[in-house]
Symmetry: C2
DNA sequence: AAGTAATCCTATCAAAATAATTGGATTTAA
DNA sequence: TTAAATCCAATTATTTTGATAGGATTACTT
C-alpha cells in the first residue's frame, strides 16, 4: 500500500513552491530543500508542468512556480496523475477499472472497494493549501472513521 | 497505493480454504479455483504456513487447511505479514517506522499518518470470516468516513 | 514393500516498475 | 556574447514482484 517516492517528491516540490507563491524557484534551490536530485526533479517538474500544476520560466534566473492556487490543487488528483489509480486493486478502481475473471461472487472486491473509497475520501478532500496550513486532523481516540451517518 | 498480487492471491487461497473448513484441499484444486499457478501457490502457502495461517498434510491426498478459525484471521495482519507495513510511507508506519531527514516540520507526514490510520482501521477490523460472510459494508451516499465523533 | 502422488524447500530466473543518470538542445538575463 | 538555467529524449541501474526449475521428503494405496 505504498506511495512511491515519485509522489512524495512531487508533493515536496509542490509544497515548497506553495510556501513561496509568486516567486520563481530554481531547480537547485528546490533540490536543496527537498533532498531530491536535480535531474530527478527535472523529470518530475516537467511532468507536473504538462499536468498543469506548475509553470516554468526558462533561461537564466529561470525556475518553477505554481500554476494554480494551492486551494485548487487536489492531493488525490496529484497522486493519481503521477502514480495511477488510488484503488489498491484494478477491479475496484473508479477511474481505471479493469475486469477480473473471478469478479462475480468475489468476496474480496467489496473490501478493496471500501479501501479505495476511504483512501480516495481522505486524499480527495485534501488540497495543497490544507497541507500548507497544517489543516490535517490526526485521528484520535474519539474519532470515528467508517459507519452510517446517524443524523 | 497498490496491494500486490501476492496479497490478493494469498487472500484468495485463504478464502477458498475458509469455505471448506475441515477439509484438506490439494494445491491443484486451489490453483483451479483461484487461477494462480501451482508453483506460485506453493510458495505462498509455505509462507502462510510459516506465519501460522494454514497447516499442511504431506504425501498422497495431502493439501492445506486453515490453521486458525476464520474469525481469528485478521486481514490487516495478513497483508502486513506478506507485504510489509500498511502505511503509505515509512515515516508514518507504526510497525516499521523509519525516520526521514525532513521529518521535523514536514507538512506531508500528517497526511500519510491519516492515510495509514484509515487503511489500518478498515483492514484491521476485518477478519476472514467477515469476508466469507460478505459482511463488508460498501460506502454509500449517506455514509461518513472521517471526522470527530459528535456524541 | 513398492509405487505414486503430493507437499516441501532452496535456488534461480524473468519481468515490471521505479529511480537515477547522461548528454545535449534551447531559452533568457546580464 | 556568454553564462545560467530549463527542456527533453534516451539510457542505465536498482528494486520489487512474479514465475520457474528441480529435487527431497512424506504418506497413502495396492
Amino acid at each position: 500500500m505504498k506511495v512511491s517516492s515519485k509522489g512524495e517528491y512531487a508533493l515536496r516540490a509542490l509544497l515548497l513552491l506553495g510556501t513561496h507563491q509568486g516567486k520563481v524557484l530554481g531547480i537547485q534551490e528546490i533540490s536543496d530543500k527537498t533532498l531530491v536530485t536535480v535531474h530527478y526533479l527535472e523529470q518530475l517538474l516537467l511532468q507536473l508542468k504538462k499536468l498543469g500544476y506548475v509553470t516554468s520560466k526558462r533561461g537564466a534566473k529561470g525556475g518553477y512556480m505554481l500554476q494554480r492556487e494551492a486551494e485548487e490543487i487536489n492531493i488525490g488528483a496529484v497522486i493519481r496523475d503521477l502514480e495511477g489509480p488510488l484503488s489498491p486493486m484494478a477491479c475496484a478502481s473508479i477511474t481505471q477499472y479493469e475486469p477480473c475473471p473471478l469478479e462475480e461472487g468475489c468476496q474480496l472486491k467489496p473490501l478493496w472497494s471500501l479501501v479505495r473509497d476511504t483512501i480516495a475520501f481522505v486524499l480527495e478532500r485534501t488540497t495543497l493549501d490544507d497541507l500548507l496550513q497544517n489543516r490535517i486532523t490526526k485521528l484520535e481516540g474519539g474519532d470515528f472513521i467508517v459507519g452510517k451517518r446517524t443524523s
